[in-house]
Symmetry: C2
Subunit: 388 residues, 2 copies
């Protein structure tokens, strides 16, 4: 198995981009990554795309072929593959691409993640999103993602794992970083009071506990680590990518205050990378809801159970402090175009490890971790990247 | 890169299965493959699923997690990955699984393909199917798959590549084999006259030129070739899997009587397998429409351009003759549950190479090929399997 490097990264602005199409966004991110990798598009021999619901959002399935076509790769018949795993779609596409290079089946591959969520065909965006939860036993009964996460939050508060204020502070942390990221959907720092007093969504969660609906795309170029230097001096090593599953329905778990798939994938990834959680210098986690962010910090082993919320409230996850998390602004402030998110997380980690994260730069970051979750932690990918 | 073997196969009956659910079908095929491989489900360490449109057909995305869950693998947090490439979804899942084993990232993986197309949520099945064509430039203008294929047929007749009778004979060939396959949706042999006199769909194609709407699932178990003997004596080698893309829209092709992606994938696959088209003993091709079957025979190099139709009409593609094709009954007679089809084709080739195809058995088959197409040949996978 060959080692793999990330040699190019590209990301669009995230937001409600009414005047941008799905195709348009995907191509912008792809071209940026190709330019960043200092190669020509004709050198790419494979394409992996993460997308949740183009079939419903824009009535277009088969977007693997669409992206290959519109990026000019179809004429060369380059294979293009779409994967879907709800919110983890982009991260799963990344894993497939790493596998393709590691196996030797491909040499230079592009990973793309994209979603167009505003300006859509489908009448109910929630019905599309809820289709990544258990349609038969949970979503079909009226349990939205917000209410499922609210139940987790209630349980965490009940068990004394985190207070309402600690959970809310995750949003403050994300917005703090969003204000430093020119591509973020929300570039405004907020106070704890703003989160606590925001309109109720599902008790105890309010509007500012929830990631927004967004349009956007992100892209990566990968090649064998041994070839990376031929293209660029600015690359990072992919030390591990691990994926794990859990029950689709939340009610079937023994403990809803932890995602077993995150724990399992993190352990596998750390083992492959030869590190422990203590070695992680910067992390991007899947904060669709504040409470999911807190859980991720615990499940990744970055903080002990019961201590993550306190750490976030104390500002320890801000850049400049000891465990910077979601320096991109996270899903909450950078935005959450579902299929793009998992790829955008890797882009941010690569920026940090290359030292190109500008105002959000974590000093001397050696190891970065990205955690991406589909459904209620039903599919989780944990990736470890390493500065070279 | 490790060599890969298919050690287990499973397929459900295909048809309008009103009393079977998506979950139910997926599990049946999976359990059959596990039993066939003579291992226990707990030995599987990865799962790859091909599915086109569960998000629209049954309002359930994220079916990777769903299948992992319902097959009892979620509790062990086994990674599960869903891929989508329109009609090639199952074949692309197979390719990802081969890559996973070849790279060493996984040891024993299951591939599943499933689709539930009757008894569905979405009001218009054609709108779902057409979403795998180009939504913006073709499907959105009212061009259905049937009319796109009809244009290809008109052009082939116009250019003298095949006559109407030769095109129609592909359906006779599929039904001839369907009558021998207990799992086929249509188990009745038909005459050329039946096809030619069937109700018009899009001139010149009639009802019997078109594959049906079906429910069904198929499954495979893969492992490294060197380990196959530990489990079973009944396995086949995966000699090559190649994938290629083309433009999403048909109108952008220079020549619509050939699929460049099939030609490209076939050449790559033969090269990797170290064979030529002349070595192929049995083939399964993607006959959503009769004309697509004829094209595939030419694009795979099994017959010269202009000779495939004649060969089919003369019965040369029937079992017992020199180039048996679609011995399963193909998409037309076995049925076409979209996500399952690509996997079911590999199941049939494995049956032939293992010598377990019963009344459909091709004598002394050494090399078998499966060709699977998404959209209008926008994503094509060609796989070569070899008897051991």
């Amino acid at each position: 198995m060959r080692d793999v490097a990330i040699i190019g990264i590209g990301v669009t602005k995230f937001g409600e981009l009414w005047n941008r199409s799905f195709r348009d966004l995907g191509i912008e991110a792809g071209l940026k990554a190709i330019e960043d990798a200092k190669l020509s598009g004709s050198e790419i021999d494979g394409l992996f795309i993460g997308n949740m619901s183009a079939g419903r959002f824009i009535n277009q399935q088969h977007i693997d072929a669409l992206i290959a076509d519109y990026s000019g790769m179809a004429s060369k018949h380059i294979p293009a593959t779409r994967v879907e795993a709800g919110g983890a779609s982009g991260a799963v596409a990344f894993r497939q691409a790493v596998m393709a290079v590691a196996s030797g089946m491909h040499d230079i591959v592009m990973v793309g993640g994209a979603e167009k969520m505003t300006d859509i065909d489908d009448p109910s965006i929630n019905s599309v999103l809820d289709a990544t939860a258990d349609a038969e036993w949970e979503a079909g009964m009226g349990l939205t993602f917000a209410s499922l996460h609210a139940m987790i939050a209630q349980r965490m508060i009940h068990e004394g794992i985190a207070t309402r204020e600690e959970i809310a502070s995750f949003s403050v942390n994300s917005h703090f970083h969003g204000a430093l990221n020119p591509n973020a959907q929300f570039k405004k720092a907020i106070t704890l009071d703003t989160v606590l007093r925001s309109g109720p969504v599902a008790t105890p969660l309010g509007m500012f506990d929830c990631a927004p609906i967004s349009d956007g795309a992100a892209s990566l170029v990968l090649c064998p680590l041994e070839d990376a230097k031929k293209y660029t001096d600015s690359y990072v090593k992919v030390s591990a990518v691990a994926q794990a599953s859990d029950t689709l329905a939340l009610f079937q778990r023994e403990d809803i205050t932890t995602y077993g798939a995150t724990v399992s994938a993190a352990q596998a990834a750390y083992k492959t990378a030869g590190i422990t959680a203590a070695d992680v210098d910067v992390a991007e986690v899947h904060d669709t809801y504040t409470v999911a962010g807190i859980m991720a910090l615990q499940d990744l082993g970055l903080f002990k159970r019961g201590e993550a919320g306190k750490a976030v409230l104390e500002g320890r996850c801000q850049v400049g402090s000891d465990m910077p998390v979601n320096t991109s602004g996270g899903l909450k402030a950078r935005g959450h175009p579902v299929g793009a998110t998992g790829v955008a997380q890797i882009v941010e980690i690569a920026e940090q490890l290359r030292g190109s994260a500008d105002k959000r730069q974590v000093e001397n970051a050696k190891y970065g971790v990205a955690q991406s979750s589909g459904g209620m932690g039903s599919a989780v990918v944990v990736s470890v990247m390493e500065a070279i």
